[in-house]
Amino acid sequence: MSQEISTDLWEYIIANDQLPPTQTDLVKQGWHTWLNNQRQWRPPEGNRKCALLLGSPDDPLFEEFVKRASELEIEVFIATRLEDLELTVTIEGGKPAVQILYINDTLGRTKWDLIINRYNYYLSDRLTEFQRCEQTALLWSALALTASPVISRPSISGPMPGSDFAQVVKSLENSAWTVAGILSSNPSDFPHTFSLGSNDHPISHKLAGEIASFFIIADRYLFLFEPSDKDFWEPHCASLVELFIPLEITFALCFAVKYLDIPRLVWLTPWPEFQFAKYGANEISEVLLNRFFT
């Protein structure tokens, strides 16, 4: 039989769910996963909630979430490489659809009660630049379009950290907030994480020690750490919460100059990094996970 695969062959495979005996080993290998998956798949059982955690084992924040999630009465699936997941985004008949499968989940779950996304370059450091672009494109599309709740979900403005900030700058134009400065992005954590800017940034220096900070989880959970006069800050925080509602449950971390009448937004990120260590990853991860699993 020729190496060429004809339409007839595809029809044969669909009809019989197996390859014709004359096909080459190479083709068989290509079909192995499909046939195997079909044999293994069973409908999901029980009502146990499930969380999918995508991140790196050397990431303390990710580990904190893994630890906390493991203490809950839920199924936890940990993906440390994109290859641990089977991701598919389709548009058929003008309708987009997403499927996110954990590769070793024999129940073949596609509905997640929570997805925590801490994907970064470190998870794909063995890949070529091209592979990395393609993986990012796939992961980013899947997380942006999935119906499951995602922390953090990529937004329309793209996997470029600054673009979210730019949207916020525009959004705040007619509000009580002004924007005091910008801190540069950290490419090693592309696409979702900022670092606290370049050390030589004059605004960073100026604001050091003069800032308040708080976390917002955009579905109205708010962690306010400083300053103590909550009465002053809370109305402003509420307006920020409104602003971030379209971002679903993305975190926002804001700094504001304490002594000015007008609150000044300096920085925000879906993943506050070192601030977690400072202000208590325990508390935040606990509240966050409880939000979804209790």
């Binding site: 079909w31 991701l87 003008g94 793209g158 002004t178 490419p187």
Partner: protein
């Protein structure tokens, strides 16, 4: 009229644009993209929505220019070491951010939509607009699953094409037995599969409210890499022009290069993608400078 141009002379479209702007009598100040990203600084004052570019001891404030033309891209991937990669990527983000928040109305090279870094997500987000104008999106699937890839392809063989999922430049090919043998590779290299639409390609350049179309007839599945192709100026149906103009507004992108396919049997228009930094010099030369003229008008008005 004073225009700030940011780009690299290695880029044909950039060179072409500079020439046409100078020819039209604009005062052009050029900033080399590589020098700016490697050695320069971009400082943004958010309170007055203005940025300063500092390079070689000179400072240029964006607000001092009447308009900005930028063709900027991330050069970090090819940096010789990680320090330079970090510096240049940081500068790139700063530049994009500076363009996004600048008060100028006349900027070519900014967009609030970077989602064409993923072709499929880009399409998915534009479906509500496209469908208003009766424009369809081609059935598509991007996956790292051999099963899902096989399933999508098998339903469409032999009329299925394969291409890259991201903005990385790849050639489009018809799926063959050779591709199928290599299907397991998609586990590490996700791939975009698409129903093949047979018929001419149309590239529309939308600049503000102006739209310029070109029809491309080629026997090859990817006309860009074909020697045998015919280009023809095409008069766009009003709904296509209207849709393209609306896309520029929606994406806050003054210039877009929008790709369509027309099904030769049904005459239906299918949207493929909208590029916010299109390489348009070839199309412009063939059209006798219509795109350049539209850009000049955009800046003048």
């Amino acid at each position: 009229m004073k225009i700030l141009c940011i780009g690299t002379d290695l880029d044909k479209t950039y060179r072409h644009t500079i020439k046409s702007l100078v020819k039209a009598g604009f005062s052009v100040e050029k900033v080399d993209l590589f020098s700016l990203l490697i050695n320069g600084k971009i400082l943004t004052d958010f309170s007055c929505r203005n940025s300063t570019l500092i390079l070689d001891g000179r400072a240029a404030e964006l607000k001092d220019f009447d308009a900005i033309f930028a063709r900027s891209f991330d050069i970090a991937a090819e940096a010789p070491n990680s320090n330079l990669a970090t510096t240049t990527r940081r500068s790139y983000y700063s530049l994009m951010l500076a363009l996004r928040v600048q008060r100028h109305q006349k900027i070519i090279g900014r967009t609030n939509d970077l989602s064409n870094l993923s072709k499929l997500f880009h399409c998915a987000n534009l479906i509500p607009i496209l469908s208003k104008f009766g424009i369809e999106v081609v059935d598509s699937c991007v996956t790292n699953s051999v099963y899902q890839g096989s399933r999508f392809v098998s339903r469409r063989m032999p009329h299925c094409i394969i291409k890259g999922a991201s903005a990385f430049k790849t050639s489009t090919q018809v799926v063959t037995a050779n591709h199928l043998r290599r299907l397991p590779h998609i586990v590490r290299t996700p791939t975009l599969f698409q129903s093949q639409i047979t018929g001419p390609d149309v590239r529309v350049h939308a600049i503000g409210n102006a739209t310029i179309g070109e029809l491309i007839i080629s026997s090859s599945v990817d006309y860009r890499f074909s020697c045998e192709k015919k280009h023809r100026e095409v008069s766009l149906p009003p709904c296509i022009s209207e849709c393209c103009s609306l896309l520029t507004q929606t994406l806050d992108s003054a210039l877009l290069g929008i790709d369509f396919k027309i099904d030769i049997e049904t005459g239906k228009w299918y949207f493929l993608e909208a590029n916010s930094m299109p390489a348009y010099h070839g199309y412009d030369i063939r059209s006798g400078g219509l795109i350049s003229d539209a850009i000049i008008q955009f800046f003048k008005n």
